[in-house]
């Protein structure tokens, strides 16, 4: 859309202008507002507009009356340019005194939530109450909103609590991290404010020019290629002329005027024939030669361009976080990228030049044909729009059906894969029948989709061929009429003309394919650019800090984090592990232990707060320092496709055989590896040779030993093994943790006895911390768990 670029800014003031006058009677001005957040529902659950405002003393809720039929915009759908003029609204304002209220909390629903005011319970002296949970009074819903407004309200809830406690409010607290950004071109809201990519403006044109950028280094060669294509087109024009008019009508028909024009001696038709034959041979040879030059050039450009493209994609893929891969669920991402790059190359190296040549040929041929005979030209060209129309109208539908068939077969493959990998479960539970039934259903979908494709495909080509043949037939009929009845033209003339008509069908067929080819390629290119544009959430900074010597102090400060938006898993967690010491983390399953170590190894970045290594924020640290010094033996063991040796040497490709074996010995993996027929060269991760849970665990411990990290993370490293193996592994772990900072998560508390500090995590919060003895003395959760385990062990001993 071509519009004057109006500089429209979203209203980001703390007191939105539209409600400034509403708040006047309450004596509230922009300066008095600490923080504000929009809401989008009223208390009866209808969508409307509203705000929650927070001043130092009060919380205000403004709700306007719902306007029936008013469009409700959710994230990404709003457009600054088209934002409706603010209609006058009736506002209802409620105010709540912060001092009289115990607190405000957010109650989350499936799609959004409500803000709840909790009164102080009557007759309770809150001054005297400790830090623990306080008795609550009446709870009242005061505002409702969808997930769109959740971020703002959650921020406000936090600021409100700080205000109540009389704490300082920092810029950081009120900064709107979820502030929306808009595309400056079309005004649409970016789906992701951090990515600044407008899907609407990322149109075919942009993609096309972006690919052209990849051809830039090969400008010279591409120019030569174009010249070759034009030459081919010219030669193609010459051929029917020589072959028809010149040969039949001039030479064979003994046309004296022709000899004269060619400055040949009169009557020497044999010589003329020889010359024409020579010209024809030269034309053919030239055509061949130009073809060869083209081929060579293509071979010299195409592979490089594909390489550049793939490199760019893989580079950005490598830097993408775990989050990207789990959210995109891209099992066959690699193969798709390969395919996409080839597709793009195909169009730009083969398709586009050919397209230009064809356009050139058609125009040139049309001109020549009109010069030769207007009537014939009209007749032969009249079919063209029909052919065009047919392919233009029908092809998109055909591709649509292809797409559906493709999706159906993909989902069938997924089902097959499920059944193969889960074959044991299926058999063990006797579910073959019902699996078969489910499979039949998908299979049936594939069948009907395929059938649709075939039907439409047949219809399309049928119509297309009929249209094309009709055109040829009409030319023949009219020519015959002109030759026999009107005696206007000669046979040679007709042959030249027929030659052009046949040559016309070439470009026309090409065009009908070209449209589909073009859209397909643009889709491929789009997919690749999407990956390239997906700014990795976990990114190395511009000028990262490199630490040559890592001491190993790890600290986590006031970290809040969750995997899904608006659903925090860790809430305000602080903990630290001093260099060379061991920190133990204890908690129920699902408490957030693994999440903590994921943050420490920077698989994710915290929403709020920071994780530091030797005082440097992980976000400022370079990847080399991070990966070379932090190793994790996790609950889930990853075995890559390759030999056992390769798996152990995963983090250090340059490790010698000796180092690998030593690491395996330390991880008590050496024994079982040697018992395998292929030893360290056993291929694993392919399904051919399945390792047991304990064996995998030991390989991943060996991997960590070889990495020789300063910081070792053990996430239930012995969860998958029997008691005996556990003892062995525990021994190797004890060797391993010497002189390192260790962060250990374990079910068995006895293994954490040596920890210098223990933290107990519950529901994403630290509930207890201290040494083993301190925690036992506290008689809290830790004590209870410990007692339970010793008693359980004692009971076993009695039996």
């Amino acid at each position: 859309m071509k519009k004057k670029k109006k500089e429209i800014q979203p209203d980001t003031s703390r007191l939105p202008k539209t409600i400034a006058s509403v708040m006047e009677p309450y004596g509230l001005t922009e300066d008095g507002v600490v923080c504000s957040a929009p809401i989008d529902m009223n208390l009866s659950g209808e969508f409307t507009k509203g705000y929650v405002l927070l001043s130092k003393e009060k919380l205000y809720v403004l709700i306007s009356e719902a306007i029936p039929g008013e469009m409700i915009y959710f994230k990404g759908s709003e457009n600054l340019h088209k934002m409706s003029q603010q209609t006058a609204r009736e506002w209802t304002v409620s105010e709540y005194d912060l001092k009289q209220v115990l607190n405000f909390t957010v109650e989350r629903n499936v799609m959004g939530g409500v803000l709840v005011k909790i009164d102080k319970a009557p007759g309770v002296d809150y001054e005297a109450e400790g830090d623990g949970p306080k008795p609550e009074g009446e709870a009242t819903v005061i505002a409702a909103f969808s997930n769109k407004c959740m971020g703002g309200i959650a921020r406000m809830e936090k600021v409100g609590r700080k205000l109540q406690k009389g704490e300082e409010i920092t810029e950081e607290d009120i900064k709107d991290k979820s502030a929306e950004a808009y595309c400056p071109t079309c005004g649409s809201m970016y789906p992701d404010a951090d990515r600044k990519i407008c899907p609407k403006c990322m149109n075919t044109k942009n993609i096309f020019f972006r690919i052209l950028g990849y051809l830039k280094p090969y400008r010279g060669r591409i120019l030569i290629m174009f010249l070759c294509y034009i030459a081919t087109a010219c030669l193609n024009l010459v051929w029917p002329y020589l072959n028809g008019t010149v040969l039949y009508d001039k030479v064979l028909a003994r046309n004296e005027a022709f000899l004269q024009a060619m400055k040949l001696p009169a009557g020497k038709f044999a010589l003329a024939l020889g010359l024409v034959a020579l010209a024809m041979i030269v034309t053919k040879l030239l055509t061949q030669f130009v073809g060869i030059v083209q081929g060579v050039l293509t071979a010299k450009i195409a592979p490089y361009m594909v390489k550049d493209l793939k490199n760019d994609v893989f580079r950005s893929m490598g830097s993408l976080s775990v989050g990207f891969f789990t959210s995109k669920q891209t099992g066959s991402l690699m193969t798709r990228v390969m395919y996409d790059a080839e597709e793009v190359q195909g169009l730009f190296i083969d398709g586009l030049p050919y397209f230009v040549t064809n356009v050139f040929s058609i125009i040139a041929m049309a001109i020549i044909m009109f010069k030769m005979n207007v009537l014939l030209a009209i007749v032969s060209l009249i079919g063209m729009p029909i052919v065009f129309f047919v392919s233009w109208r029908m092809l998109p539908r055909l591709w649509h059906r292809y797409g559906r068939a493709h999706r159906a077969s993909r989902s069938m493959n997924a089902r097959i894969n499920d059944n193969l990998t889960g074959a044991r479960v299926v058999k063990a539970f006797g579910q073959e029948e019902s699996e078969m039934e489910r499979f039949n259903k998908t299979n049936e979908r594939v069948r009907s989709a395929d059938l649709e494709v075939v039907k439409y495909d047949n219809a399309f080509w049928g119509i297309y061929n009929v249209a094309e043949s009709m055109a040829s037939l009409m030319v023949l009929t009219v020519s015959a009429y002109l030759i026999i009845v009107k005696k206007q033209i000669d046979v040679g003339f007709m042959m030249t003309f027929a030659g052009y008509v046949t040559q016309l069908t070439g470009p026309m067929d090409f065009f009908s394919h070209f449209f589909r080819w073009f859209t397909n390629t643009m889709n491929s290119a789009q997919r690749m650019f999407e990956i390239m544009d997906a700014i990795p959430e976990i990114r190395e900074k511009e000028h990262p800090v490199h630490l040559d010597h890592v001491k190993g102090d790890v600290e986590m400060k006031n970290v809040t984090f969750g995997y899904e938006k608006n659903k925090p898993v860790l809430k305000d967690v602080s903990l630290s592990a001093e260099a060379g010491k061991m920190l133990g983390i204890v908690g129920r399953s699902g408490a957030g232990k693994t999440t903590i170590v994921n943050l420490i190894s920077r698989l994710y970045d915290p929403w709020e707060g920071s994780v530091t290594l030797d005082g440097v924020d992980l976000r400022d640290l370079d990847f080399a320092t991070l990966h070379g010094n932090v190793a994790m033996v996790s609950q889930e063991t990853y075995i890559f496709r390759g030999t056992i040796a390769e798996n152990i040497a995963y983090a250090r490709r340059d490790a010698s055989r000796e180092e690998i074996v030593r690491a395996a010995v330390l991880a008590s993996a050496h024994d079982f590896i040697c018992k395998l027929p292929d030893g360290y060269d056993t291929l694993v991760g392919t399904g051919r040779r399945d390792l047991s849970g304990g064996e995998r665990q030991r390989i991943s411990i060996a991997r960590a030993i070889l990495c020789n990290p300063k910081i070792l993370i053990l996430d239930e490293a012995t969860a998958a093994v029997d008691t005996e193996t556990e003892m062995a592994i525990q021994k190797s772990i004890n060797l391993l943790i010497n002189g390192r900072t260790t962060i250990s998560i374990a079910h068995r508390l006895s293994t954490l006895r040596d920890a210098s500090e223990l933290v107990v995590i519950d529901d994403g919060k630290v509930t207890e911390r201290g040494t083993h003895d301190e925690l036992v003395a506290q008689k809290g959760t830790y004590y209870k768990l410990k007692e339970l385990q010793t008693k359980a062990l004692a009971l076993k001993g009695i039996e």
Binding site: M71, F74, S77, E138, V141, S146, E530, K565, L788
Partner: protein, 189 residues
Amino acid sequence: MGLTTFQAADDDFNLEQMEEETEEMLRLRYLNRENAVFKKTSGGFVSLDTFGEHYDRVRVVRSFPFTDPTHYISIRVADEKSKEIGMILDIGKDVDAETKAMLEEQMNLRYFTPIITKIKDIKDEYGHAYFDVETNEGPCKFVIYMNSSSVVHLTDTRLLITDLDGNRFEIPDYSKFSAKELKKLDLFL
């Protein structure tokens, strides 16, 4: 209750008590009109008196929100732990009509999901799909990511669509749509 003993740490640890607690965790307790009294609070919530305990405010959660919304209603403590107090097997039979209405009101708020009644437009742009629809809550425009988790087939004809923020929209039966609307939706079927 479990929560209080957890914090009252000064009484000596005893295994029986702990086992009792563990057993309690494994017990499925059904609530019905004999053993549970629900009351509406002035703040818009529901309170509960059952087995000698009083709860100012409880959470009403469906165990099978899609496939069986009227059975196995779980009543939970309204705090972060959200511990289960008990289960109502069949909300149509086990409680009186007044309670049923009260609980359903809570659930309707909790499971609030606009129903798409008409599809005006769906545009597929660079990895996102822009929806312009009519719902029972009024006209809506929203955007989703083009991946398979954004549009979930609950049954053969029932769709659940999740937008960028996690807001949900439901199509109870897409076969009821007109051919024109279906064509727009075809991308996701």
